[in-house]
Assembly symmetry: C3
Homo-oligomer: 163 residues x 3
Amino acid sequence: MSDKSNRLIHQREIENLLIDYCRYLDRMELSKLAKLFSDDCHVAYGDDPKLIANGRAALEASLSRMWRWMRTAHHLSNIRIWFNGERRAYSESYVHAWHEGTGGNTAIIYGRYLDHLEMLDNSWKITERRMDMNGSDKGFKLPIPHTPRCEPPPDWIVPEGLD
Amino acid sequence: MSDKSNRLIHQREIENLLIDYCRYLDRMELSKLAKLFSDDCHVAYGDDPKLIANGRAALEASLSRMWRWMRTAHHLSNIRIWFNGERRAYSESYVHAWHEGTGGNTAIIYGRYLDHLEMLDNSWKITERRMDMNGSDKGFKLPIPHTPRCEPPPDWIVPEGLD
Amino acid sequence: MSDKSNRLIHQREIENLLIDYCRYLDRMELSKLAKLFSDDCHVAYGDDPKLIANGRAALEASLSRMWRWMRTAHHLSNIRIWFNGERRAYSESYVHAWHEGTGGNTAIIYGRYLDHLEMLDNSWKITERRMDMNGSDKGFKLPIPHTPRCEPPPDWIVPEGLD
């Protein structure tokens, strides 16, 4: 099997892992979700200490906060994966995450997962996850950091005739 | 070709099939859409008899109901596929489906397709499709069943300081 | 390596290219974005001359218009790729694109990219891009053409009992 074919197999395994995170989170199967991460994982959904977890057990406990929502839907796309040798990779993916609160209120975030992954005991695990976002609707209140975006050059002028 | 590489090829074929369903539905090319299913398929978008079709011809007739919308957009993500031997598979996928009514009203559903697939005459077909949803916006009225979600443990308390 | 495995590798490369377009656009890294296109590319996001660019340099200049938005999020899905021989391909993909204006206003489009691709100097480039859309929310004002959708047959009647 060629190196490139082998890479495809590993990419698919990592994609499945990232998708399973979304599936387990929406179903609140947190012990299954936690097994997608390494024992000593570092996860930061933002800078607020409440959004940070060190270690798989802490992550599982921390994500119980998602029960404050009645329902959620995490739709993953734009998955990009790069390898660092045979057993390490990092990835970026986009998530469209919808949340429904107990009062019927909703919140949508256009987020991004920035992950480090490692092959451990023959399966890929997330060892580090950070999150940022391109934006959110007005229903979403958590202080998730913004994805970096280049500023316009000083001579840029607003185009006319475009809404 | 290794078994794992062969699997990748079949996964891609199944992904294309699931995507084509969305493409044909949004373009209302229903006879092309129907050919993605087996002759004797069973499709249930919900428990209401109006949302159930047995057989390819019944499915094609039934989906003509989508013309009550002016336009739709079905965006598929989180595609997971598992194989049962060489010629059978099942899959879960997420769909973000937007609908625009004749009065300019809109409806969004955060749904999930649960499919059984079979290799028939050398191409994959959907033999069974069920649908459920994580949720929807207020514009969506059909009684689609909810995706199962675990309840919090009895000692769970609402976290403070998180919206 | 079999032809089919080889195809998978090229499909992945093209998917990565299409995803990178979204990533660079949301980060407004326009010189990186422009390198995803051929020197002599033809890009038309609609029929309005302001939405058309001929050549890589013109495309880069033209897309500076996206700075009129504070932030954007382009989530790609339903990627379908077909090959014309070894070095040419075409593709369709869906984009859920969210935009936030300077006044906090937002605009969402349910769009579709229709691309021609070519392998040039050993990497895939977009040589031609057209865009259309299944629809948009009320915040989106640009005149993007609609995706073709079949009309109902003359004897079709609105189904009863379905919202």
